[in-house]
């Protein structure tokens, strides 16, 4: 059997009237990997996810999912796919268990099989004791977990998550990441769109960074960082009304300098050496932070903007 990616997109484009939401992007997703689509709001992540979900028709280019054409084989693809929409879309007037059994029935499971499957999944997402609860009083993290359980009802090979942890507190985020990691270990392919670089770094084997509908970087989090930005960053703050003078003087010191409204970032191979040089030149900052470069920095250097404003 020839090797085929789970998702294959070539010059994939989506237009809404005059606006191009996704502009000729090309990528492939391998079986069993966690693939991330990272970018700020409005970058085209959700539109790309909706096309992969087979919900939104492609304007032009090629899209193959599980070796099928989403336009012609939507139901067949969806039978093997789990979708976790950004806003959960839980059935507010059904209880927790009914949300799962109803969804299982949509896939043609018998009533008894649907109840069994719901019980298994409530255990997996640790909601068993809330099975008879209404949906409304659940916390944000619980609702998210219920949406994940629902997407797993049909034992999908491919799971699609749009902004999986937006709006969740840190504890809820970590619990969710842990469940997603378990799914990955079982061999499920995960595709997640996020504007959190820590989430992308934590979970993704490979990712694309999107901006204005285009791909501005692709690869594993480590290779993206090592190939596109110097390894270390010095974050500097100064007691001065304007940072412009400082930024000009710092350009000679590091490999790259980025000026943000409240601070200046100096990129270099060795952060401590950069700091020493700054002091030697008589430019003492009010605060200094030396850290490793992140995907956030990759995005900043590629686009001149930050991921989260």
């Amino acid at each position: 059997m020839s090797h085929q990616p789970v998702v294959f997109a070539e010059e994939l484009t989506k237009e809404f009237g005059d606006t191009t939401a996704v502009d000729s992007i090309t990528f492939g997703i391998e079986r069993g990997e966690v693939f991330g689509i990272l970018g700020p709001n409005g970058a085209g992540k959700s539109t790309t996810m909706r096309m992969i979900s087979t919900v939104s028709p492609v304007t032009s280019g090629t899209l193959r999912i599980l070796e099928m054409d989403p336009q012609a084989h939507g139901p067949d693809i969806r039978a093997r796919m789990g979708i976790i929409p950004q806003d959960n879309l839980l059935d507010q007037h059904l209880n927790v268990r009914e949300n799962l059994t109803t969804y299982a029935r949509y896939f043609g499971m018998s009533r008894s099989r649907a109840r069994e499957r719901a019980a298994e999944l409530l255990d997996f997402v640790q909601l068993r004791e809330r099975a008879d609860s209404e949906v409304q009083p659940l916390s944000g993290g619980m609702k998210r977990r219920l949406a994940i359980a629902r997407a797993l009802v049909n034992d999908p090979e491919l799971v699609i998550l749009d902004e999986p942890t937006t709006g969740l507190d840190p504890q809820a985020r970590h619990l969710l990441w842990e469940r997603l990691f378990q799914l990955k270990q079982r061999g499920t392919t995960l595709i997640l769109a996020t504007h959190y670089m820590d989430e992308a770094e934590q979970l993704c084997d490979r990712l694309i960074i999107m901006d204005h509908g285009r791909i501005v970087g692709a690869g594993s989090p480590r290779t993206l960082i090592s190939s596109l930005v110097p390894p270390e960053v010095v974050e500097l703050r100064f007691d001065a009304p304007s940072l412009n003078d400082y930024a000009g003087k710092l350009t000679e010191i590091g490999d790259r300098v980025e000026q943000l409204p409240d601070r200046i970032l100096v990129f270099g191979d060795n952060g401590d050496a950069v700091v020493a040089e700054i002091y030697r030149r008589g430019l003492p900052p009010s605060s200094v932070l030396v850290r490793r470069s992140t995907l956030e920095d990759v995005f900043l250097l590629k686009t001149g903007r930050r991921l989260v404003d």
Partner: protein, 257 residues
């Protein structure tokens, strides 16, 4: 059998019925109270001023029309806010779109649900009018559920389509003012269509409510004639088919946007 029970259309119907069961008590109350109020106010209230239409007692004359009106209103009411809520607030159809359920299943499953509710209302009405002592020819008991079913689909299909295009609840007031209310006035429920000014009368001919009222009344008064019956059924079917086609397009647009 399992194939049928787990058919996507049936699983959609099941979801709507599950929700209906939650509201069962409130709706059971209105199921019987609404027909009672209809009969008291129109049948006996107005009926005491209008003793006879032709050779028929007014209460006897108006009951088949009220029955059609009840089916009409139930179908419209369910299909406006019900569809709007499932698209706009719950996202129920968007969720179905993530599964094996096709758009046709969503629409047919919904219409089956409306049928169940309309039939419950129809049976409740027949029981109440029987309790009030309005004579119930066997023909009405046989025909009315069928007519109400056909009327329900012919009204619910286009209403469902319209509701799928609506992003603002205010549009339902327009539907009510310019669609529902005029339809009720011109459909010969309360008085014969012949009483309408001539230029307005053609409105009755396109009204599904008038055609259903005519069949129901013919059954109640035992005055069936084959020609008009075929025509009445044909118009109702036309509304149903056009409504279904429109609903398909409306759902496709809404779910792809």
């Amino acid at each position: 059998m399992e194939f049928l029970v787990s058919h996507p259309t049936i699983t959609v119907l099941e979801r709507h019925l599950l929700l209906y069961r939650r509201l069962w008590r409130a709706s059971a109350f209105s199921l019987f109270v609404v027909p009672a109020l209809f009969l008291l106010s129109m049948g006996f209230g107005v009926g005491s001023f209008v003793p006879r239409i032709g050779n028929t007692d007014y209460a006897m004359w108006i009951v088949p029309g009220l029955l059609a009106l009840l089916a009409f209103q139930t179908a419209v009411n369910e299909s406006t806010m019900g569809i709007y809520t499932d698209f706009e607030w719950i996202g129920a159809f968007h969720v179905m779109r993530h599964t094996r359920v096709r758009i046709t299943d969503m629409i047919v499953g919904w219409l089956l649900y409306v049928l169940v509710v309309v039939e419950l209302a129809t049976v409740a009405f027949l029981v109440v009018s029987w309790a009030f002592g309005v004579p119930q020819p066997a023909l009405v008991v046989l025909v009315a559920p069928l007519v109400c079913a056909l009327l329900a689909v012919s009204v619910a299909a286009p209403t469902t389509a319209f509701a799928a295009t609506v992003r603002d609840e205010g549009h339902f007031h327009l539907l009510n003012q310019f669609g529902v209310m005029p339809t009720i006035m011109v459909s010969g429920v309360f008085f014969p269509v012949g009483q309408l000014p001539a230029p307005v009368r053609p409105l009755a001919w396109i009204s599904p409510l008038w055609h259903a009222t005519e069949i129901n009344r013919a059954a109640a008064l035992d005055s069936f004639t084959a020609g008009p019956l075929t025509l009445h059924v044909a118009v109702l079917l036309a509304w149903a088919v056009l409504g279904l086609v429109w609903a398909r397009t409306a759902f496709q647009r809404r779910l792809a946007s």
